[in-house]
């Protein structure tokens, strides 16, 4: 029988599982390419010009949103996208359910070339427990058995379907892209301690250990089930990572411990108050000469108007309520508020390292940043990830 992944926490997939997963991946791709294209065309060819003729101006993402709400292409796109998102978790849960006991046992007995340290008394933030983020039933923290890894297993399996291959073969492209950007752009920089905040299953943590094999890699998250899974997954791949259950807004680490603080798709899930707390903590735990470097959604002030409307769909309809507020921020100012100097701000849009290879990647990162329809979006035509951060003097 086929396995879901090429690591030790993979599950067996029946032909029925594989067909259903393939269908939902195709459906997601259809919604995000074809239906999204139809929606844009309807706006640019009809709704936008009609509003202009009537003297109304659509100068904000919110105005575009309101103008499109009554339109059939928006209703169809939104309704199908919602259903497809729900189906992602539905079609992967059967296979995880069937093997959950053995997965939990495997995780409990996994090797320890790295380490797993849980903190059962850690309070979970309401921003994590209060909603089923991404419409994922039970989200990433709920536990259903001793040593439960189900949330991690569902997440790993859901990425296969959700991202229809656009996150790379081991879902690691974001970590590979950002770590290799640092390596190629700053060849003198040789980090010895790297921290990943909000790591979930560690899929974007592991490439840091590959890019900087001499560095000690630590990864934190508040949710125990994803950390147990992350640890077992990393161990089965032979990658040593120190996973710890910890809140990035109040870390247990001493000051100035890390050369790199990294996160991916993390801040946009946090309330603004927690973003400020997290960035101050990141500044505190960074060594002088270290760098904060994170993959995120591109800021609204850099993106075209329609793209901002389109990207912000998730904040209204995908249980990601803090996403819109985050994108409205001036990212440089967020870092200045946390203690970084304005001149030390860095940002980049980068092609996907594992998709295009090192030579083309290096050439691309030495050209100007681009902010367009491929920035921060999953698109087989050529996604560019957005990264920003700052050096600590």
């Amino acid at each position: 029988m086929n396995r879901s992944h090429d690591h030790g926490m993979a599950v067996s997939l029946t032909q029925h599982d594989r067909s259903r997963r393939a269908f939902v991946a195709s459906l997601r791709s259809h919604v995000l390419q074809r239906m999204a294209g139809d929606l844009r065309q309807h706006f640019e060819g009809s709704v936008g010009p009609d509003h202009e003729k009537s003297g109304a101006t659509l100068e904000s993402p919110e105005a575009i949103h309101e103008a499109l709400k009554p339109e059939l292409p928006f209703k169809a796109y939104s309704s199908v996208r919602t259903a497809a998102q729900e189906m992602v978790f539905d079609v992967v849960s059967d296979a995880v359910d069937r093997e959950l006991e053995s997965l939990n046992e495997k995780a409990a007995q996994s090797e320890n070339i790295g380490r797993l340290t849980l903190n059962p008394t850690l309070p979970l933030p309401k921003s994590v427990t209060g909603i089923d983020v991404h419409l994922s039933p039970g989200a990433y923290h709920e536990e259903r058995a001793d040593n439960d890894v189900s949330a991690g297993a569902v997440y790993d399996n859901s990425i296969d379907v959700f991202a229809f291959g656009q996150f790379g073969k081991r879902h690691n492209d974001i970590g590979a892209t950002l770590s290799n950007y640092l390596r190629l752009k700053f060849p003198e920089f040789a980090p010895s301690a790297i921290l990943d905040c909000g790591c979930t299953i560690g899929h974007n943590t592991l490439p840091w250990a590959e890019t900087y094999p001499d560095a000690q890699v630590t990864a934190i998250d508040v949710a125990a089930p994803v950390l147990r899974y992350a640890h077992a997954r990393a161990e089965s791949m032979g990658v040593p990572v120190d996973f710890r259950q910890m809140n990035a807004t109040a870390m247990d680490f001493e000051d100035e411990q890390f050369d790199v603080v990294f996160s991916s798709m993390f801040m946009h899930e946090l309330p603004l108050k927690h973003i400020h707390q997290y960035l101050k903590e990141a500044f505190r735990v960074l060594k002088p000469g270290g760098v904060l470097w994170q993959m995120e959604l591109p800021p609204m002030n850099a993106m075209p108007l329609y793209e901002n409307f389109y990207m912000n769909w998730d904040t209204y309809y995908n249980n990601e309520p803090y996403y819109g507020t985050f994108r409205k921020q001036d990212y440089r100012q967020l870092l200045i508020d946390a203690g970084f100097a304005a001149d030390d701000f860095i940002e980049a849009t980068m092609p996907r390292y594992t998709f295009i290879g090192e030579a083309a990647f290096e050439e691309s990162i030495n050209s100007d940043n681009t902010f367009d329809t491929l920035t921060g979006r999953m698109d087989p035509k050529g996604t560019r990830w957005y990264g920003f951060g700052a050096w600590k003097r």
Partner: protein
């Protein structure tokens, strides 16, 4: 089929995009149904290829096949599972869905 320990329904109300009640849910049902039809079609396609590779043309045999009692039980259970999957958004609670699944345990 194993017990479903991972919840299949998320917390909170679904968003309503179409004005008329139920349209979004019906669309969800149609998509779920389509996923099952797709899986079934693929199964059949693969089955035909496997048999063809063994030199068997089974189309005629299928047309004249007489169902056994066990066939009836298994096919009935599978129909029930399919109905549950397709109607997942139309009010059946997660508990209710599990209860129905348990009744068919061992048959799917």
């Amino acid at each position: 089929m194993s017990n479903r320990r991972i919840p299949r329904k998320r917390r909170g109300q679904r968003h309503q995009f179409f004005e008329a009640d139920g349209v979004d849910e019906v669309l969800s049902c149609v998509l779920r149904l389509t996923s099952e039809v797709s899986a079934l079609s693929e199964r059949l396609y693969l089955l035909e290829r496997v048999l063809e590779a063994r030199g068997l043309d089974v189309a005629n045999e299928v047309e004249h096949y007489v169902l056994s009692d066990q066939d009836e039980v298994l096919m009935s259970a599978e129909r029930q599972r399919l109905i549950e999957t397709v109607l997942a958004q139309l009010g059946a609670s997660a508990q209710g869905a599990e209860a129905i699944e348990d009744e068919t345990s061992g048959n799917t």
